[in-house]
């Protein structure tokens, strides 16, 4: 039993599931809230959405650093093309984990609403208020989100395929309480 059965490290597992949980909370919240008519409830949901997004962005930094300084367990045996897709998906997921909250942050600034983390910590506006830029960034944020959504679907499908069809430990070694 060599490195094939090796589990992901504790911090990698924690970051994976925490960020997964946050993304899966922010995504439907974003879809729901933007259809609402203006109300105090809408203002609150927007704030929660932004706080979740900024948390993802904040967690992304140590997660990336950890990933760059630690070698993950070796991939289990699989056809080369599947391995390439899995790797590519992982890279794009990392990219979007950064770009999606960043585009939301920029969009909020362009729309004239500074992000104030948890209602107390003002996050600087990287760009000024601009209606055209705000509309453009809204599109960008939306498209990036759907790409992220698609990639997560692919990622989950791959994990389930390994778990159910191949019956290997690909998924188990990322589970928080597995062995």
């Amino acid at each position: 039993m060599s490195s094939y059965t090796q589990r992901y490290s504790g911090p990698a597992i924690a970051a994976h599931w925490l960020i997964a949980f946050l993304i899966l909370a922010a995504f439907p919240l974003g879809l729901y809230m933007h259809e609402l008519p203006l109300s105090p409830n809408k203002l609150k949901l927007y704030s929660y959405h932004k706080w979740i997004g900024m948390t993802v962005l904040l967690l992304f930094v140590p997660r990336l650093l950890w990933r760059l300084t630690h070698t993950p367990p070796k991939a289990l045996p699989m056809p080369a093309w599947q391995h390439r897709i899995a790797e590519g998906t992982h890279h794009l997921l990392y990219l979007l984990m950064f770009l999606v909250p960043l585009s939301g942050w920029l969009m909020s600034s362009a729309k004239g609403f500074q992000v104030v983390y948890f209602g107390v910590l003002p996050i600087p506006d990287l760009i000024g208020k601009s209606e055209e830029l705000g509309d453009l960034l809204k599109e960008v944020h939306e498209v990036l989100n759907w790409v992220l959504f698609g990639l997560i679907g692919l990622h989950v499908a791959g994990a389930l395929k390994h778990h159910i069809i191949d019956r290997d430990s690909t998924l188990r070694r990322m589970l928080p309480f597995g062995k």
């Binding site: 203006l38 109300s39 105090p40 409830n41 203002l43 609150k44 927007y46 704030s47 729309k111 004239g112 609403f113 500074q114 992000v115 104030v116 948890f118 209602g119 107390v120």
Partner: protein, 191 residues
Amino acid sequence: MKIRHIALSAAALLLAGAAQSVEFKQVDTARSSLAFSSKQMGVPVPGSFKKFTTQIAFDPAKPTAASTTLEIDLASIDAGSKDANDEVVGKQWFNVKAFPTARFVSSGVKALGGNRYEALGKMTIKGQTRDIVAPFTFKQDGANGVFDGGFVLKRMDFNIGEGPWADVSAVANEIEIKFHVVAAPAAAAKK
């Protein structure tokens, strides 16, 4: 043309020298502004009123004799976004159909020392009248008088934001108002 220019300069110099007895009355609307800042979920959101008229009579030598009235066209609000602009003219906020203008009428001005003053008066918005104290500074910029001031208005005192909007945890009760008024001396305007 040249002579006129010199005459004007001389007049300006005279005015500057005689600043103690000049009454500033002619408000320059284009250079004056009325801005506010609300807090939504802790986020400061700036806004302004594009249309307002104000009358001022202020002589720095006799500040206690000063008076001012302000009338704000509430429909001219820019609350930071199109959604917000559509919302705040509605019934739960300003209800501009029934109450198109807000009005401030001063009852007195107190000198606080230096260039600092305080305007006291009554503010009427949406049928509600409340006493307001608005500290401001006065300075002369060339021949003009420049008034800068602000105060905190509690929106719930005027029922601005009723129904679900009465929730001050979403939109804070305190609205910061800032005004900048440029006024020319009455004498210069008459000449």
